[in-house]
Symmetry: C2
Subunit: 260 residues, 2 copies
DNA sequence: GTCGGCGATG
DNA sequence: CATCGCCGAC
């Protein structure tokens, strides 16, 4: 079983590349972020033609997440439903082939100390509570998406330039670690402890070559799933050429279930 | 002396092509329409480097006209100043080397019978009054720009499709003729009575190939100027390739003055 | 800086 | 339906 995550920054602008990606990798599950469409306009027909069902929660212009799957998505959840703000489409979860797939687009946080930053930290806490209440670390689960957090300095091309900046600040890293403490492992780090690879590139920092960046898109796995993980890779192909998004997809391959 | 007119649809988006055009034709005067910038942001430095002074009247997002000239622009006028609406930057006039140059971007008129259409007809009348009051048909004058009127069916690729439509309707053609009645001649028509050539192409009409269109950009000349006119051409080069505007420039060459 | 959605105009 | 400017996010 193959599970992928990709911040596509508009499913409509990226549709051709997404279809090419599906054909190249033949994943079973694809978690998408920043689809930027309401569900009625989501290009479900085109993706169905490529062999995938679409489970979506979108909004106009901003955010939007989706799960593409070859087989049916069960027990779909599209919001925290915890009494907090659910107006931003940043969370979708479904069970596919017995694996719980949670797809997130964590708020960027704009800048450290801002209101958006507080919302980001809060959002990560709500996510942890969701896991605590509705999930089981002893069951196969993948929490994946654009976390907008680089876990450690090794995940950043220029750690000094980003020191204590948003995406790299200690409180964000701590919030991510606390999420993992529930019972998750960073798939990429776990399988490639010393490998440096980025999933997102930056163009703000002065003199930053456009192909340098950081690793902020993650696949976090519960132990039963990690044990079956046969490989995890970042698809650098998708960053090349015209019409590339500024995020690269991440893929994980698992030995087949069955999960009881 | 060479005088050109060109609807550039944003001087910023077209700057590279405008500079190439200046180098290719070496005109003395260039009348530009739809510059779409306020004067403070007009790329005057780049055009000065190409050897031209800029006389501009612009606004944000819409309209905007300018006169580029190798030699100083005198007696500049940037509005009707007739008590009517001058909020749209569609008119600029200046005297260059003794030739009065009036550059206009006539309102499009949206559709026949609309409010915009009434405004267009009214605008053409105000223009006629301006000539009557401030100009002399016995002096060298060129009234040029995007008139948004195809003078006759011969100027339209598919006259039947455009019959009585905006840009081709009788009232507009009549308003243009009345302007000419003051003492102007359609330079292109006068020198090439049977030649079919378009300055603008269309993409609305179903099945319209993108390179078919109509002639709506004009150079109207007073008799003393017409007598010195040595040639008039439509530059089809500027419609080719990436980054082309949907208007082609029109150029006229005149035997040198002096005008007493 | 760079992109994408949006809205107005042609 | 193509284009461009604008805006907001990153």
């Amino acid at each position: 079983m193959k599970v992928a995550t990709w911040n596509v920054n508009s499913i409509r602008a990226r549709l051709e590349r997404v279809v090419a990606f599906l054909e190249r990798h033949d994943p079973d599950v694809v978690c998408l972020q920043e689809t930027k469409v309401v569900d009625e306009v989501f290009p479900a027909d085109e993706l169905r033609a490529a062999g995938y069902q679409c489970t979506t929660i979108g909004q106009k212009t901003y955010n939007g997440v989706a799960i593409l799957s070859k087989t049916p998505a069960e027990d779909v959840v599209r919001a925290f439903d915890d009494g907090g703000d659910d107006s931003q489409a940043r969370l979708i979860a479904a069970t596919i082939e017995g694996v719980r797939c949670v797809c997130v687009y964590v708020p960027n946080g704009r800048s450290v100390g801002s209101e958006a930053y507080a919302y980001k930290l809060e959002w990560l806490e709500r996510l942890k509570k969701l896991l605590e209440q509705d999930a089981d670390p002893e069951r196969p689960l993948v929490l994946t998406g654009d976390f907008n957090v680089a876990p450690a300095d090794i995940d950043v091309h220029d750690p000094e330039a980003w020191r204590d900046q948003v995406l790299c600040s200690d409180p964000e890293r701590k919030a991510l670690r606390e999420l993992e403490d529930w019972g998750l492992v960073d798939g990429f780090r776990s399988l490639h402890p010393d490998l440096v690879a980025y999933t997102w590139w930056d163009y703000r920092q002065l003199g930053f070559p456009k192909n340098r960046g950081m690793r902020i898109d993650h696949l976090l796995l519960t132990r039963p799933l990690l044990e079956r993980c046969e490989g995890i890779e970042i698809d650098r192909e998708e960053r090349k050429g015209k019409g590339a998004s500024d995020h690269a997809p991440v893929l994980a391959t698992f030995a087949p279930g069955p999960w009881k």
